[in-house]
Each structure stands twice: as structure tokens, then as C-alpha cells.
Symmetry: C3
């Protein structure tokens, strides 16, 4: 049940955007052991005027930077997050071919009782 929102500049073809979803899903399967079809993701495309990226922390980002905001259970360990970051950058590098400099991820932690994945229930509380 991670839920993910991806923000990027407008203009990429649909196959490119689908590859981002696919890569994230695969990275979550491999590093977080999420169950099958645990895919809850949205994407927003932004005009240049509504999107800003800097070069802070010595990373040569381009206009193709992708912001990935993920909310996960607060039981995920630093090791799992580290593995997730690494695998996500690898997979998005292969397809759709995003430079590793352009993969920006931030994770938010949410307690088990903070999720309702259907039916108005708190399934994990």
C-alpha cells in the first residue's frame, strides 16, 4: 500500500510515463515485498512555469527530473528505503532511460492505522 505521486515536466509520451509506473511497481515488489498488484499511483505533468528544480547537493539535474513522493508504512526500515532508492534509480535508468541525477524521491511515513484501502475500513490497524 504505498501510495505514490509523481511530478514531471509535461511532454513525455505515454510509454515513457507508463515505464515510470512499471519501474516503481517493480522496485516496490523487489525491495518492499509489496503484494501483487499493489499499485496506487498518480502522475501530474507540469508546464515549465509550474515546475522548478535546482542543482543543490552537487547533483546536475536536468529538465527531465522526476519528483517521486511516496507514502509508506512507518515500519519500513532505513535499509529498505535505501534499497528502494537504489533499485528505483536503476530501473528508471533502464526504462524509460532517466538519468540517475534526475530521480528525486521523498518518503513519508504513515502509521498502520492511517490507511483505509477500501470499504471504509482501517485494514492494517
Amino acid at each position: 500500500m504505498p501510495i505514490i505521486h509523481i511530478s514531471l515536466r509535461a511532454g513525455k509520451p505515454e510509454a515513457y510515463r507508463q515505464a515510470i509506473f512499471d519501474g516503481l511497481y517493480r522496485a516496490m515488489r523487489e525491495t518492499l515485498n509489496v503484494p501483487e498488484d499493489d499499485q496506487f499511483m498518480t502522475m501530474s505533468e507540469h508546464d515549465a512555469a509550474n515546475f522548478r528544480s535546482g542543482t543543490a547537493y552537487g547533483v546536475a539535474r536536468s529538465a527531465d527530473v522526476v519528483y517521486i513522493r511516496m507514502t509508506v508504512f512507518n515500519t519500513r526500515t532505513p535499509e529498505q528505503k535505501k534499497a528502494l532508492f537504489k533499485r528505483t534509480a536503476e530501473l528508471l535508468g533502464k526504462s524509460p532511460g532517466i538519468r540517475p541525477e534526475d530521480v528525486f524521491i521523498v518518503v513519508l511515513d504513515a502509521a498502520k492505522e492511517n490507511w483505509s484501502v477500501g470499504h471504509g475500513l482501517a485494514q492494517f490497524a
Copy 2:
């Protein structure tokens, strides 16, 4: 002061989308005791290519799934969250008629000092 963002597939009429706002507001009034006109909500509509939903956790979601991301005070109890989930699914089921399988909610907790609801002040710190 919960602040809410709702993501859904594009194409629903305005009345449908307003009913989602109305239902969430009413659910917050009834279960979180938020003050009158405590309505801070945004909605984004996504093309199919920018929206993905799976069937994980045994829930038969449809293309009408609605992702509701809420940020609330970190003083809210698990019981309040449970009541909020239940009431939200009930109300959205009545109007605009969303299937309970399609109501997906995740709550983020923010400390009292993390809110500025106007005037550059930290009103609740």
C-alpha cells in the same frame, strides 16, 4: 484544518466532484469535530495514462477509485481515524455513489506547530 487532496480519473461531472468535497467535509465535521467551514481541499483529475490502481488486499477496485490524501493534526486517535474512514465511505457511497471498494484514504499526521492557516502565524503551536 485537515488539508485534503483528492485524485481521480478525469471525466466526472462537476456535481459528482462537488459531492466528494461535500461528503468529506461532512465526515470531518461528524468524526473529527472540525469547526464550521473548515474546508481546505483540492482535486486533480487524471487521464488513464497518469493514474494507476491495483487490486491488492482483495479489494475489487474499479476505474472510479478515488485517492484521498489527508493531512491532520498528529493528535488524532486511531478511533477517530477509524470513524472518519467509515463515515467517508458511507457518505461517498450515498453521494455521488462511489462503491466502497473505490474509496482509498491515507492520513498523514502533522504536529500542531506545522500549520499556518493564514497571516504567517503558527496558530496552533
Copy 3:
């Protein structure tokens, strides 16, 4: 590495929206001591039907309300947040001229290990 998302009603000229980005960046530089070019921001413009704002907490908000959702290191102090809120409202008041009533900010805290600002690494863990 704060990452920021701004939501506002559609229709403001580009210069207005750039001034919001500029003001936020300057406020972060001055109050959070973020490094140079630490600018990671996205903006979404909403039709009236997809945007709702209330008057709760005695604040006379207008249709020009701006919702600013920021994720920061969880090491930021209440004092830093207070200074950030104050300075942001001041700067957005000067340019593009947003009323202080219309500046709504919520901060989310993310641990150091929750950030990957490029290269698939957890730079701050």
C-alpha cells in the same frame, strides 16, 4: 531539500506564479538556511470546481488562497517553522501581492533517511 507543492486557482499569469516560487525559495534560504539552488517545487492550478477553501479559524480567505505543502527534514524546530511561516507570508505579500489571509502552509516532517535527491542514494541517512 524541502520539496514543495503549491496549489492555487487557475488563471494567474506566469509572473505571479514565478513570484511564489521565488518567495518560497528566498524564505527557505533565510529561515531554514537551505543551500544555494535548493529549489524543488511544483505547482498545480485548479478550476474553481476542483478547489475549495473555507473561512475557519477566523481568517477571511479569498479565491486567491494558496495552499503550500512542504516536506522538510524532521530536525526542523518549531522556531524555524514559525520563522518560515512569517517570512513566507511577508515575501508573498510583497510579490506577487498575496494577502496574508491567503497564505496557507502545512509542513510534513521526513526523517533524513527518507530522502534521495539523485543517483539512487540516501544522501542524508
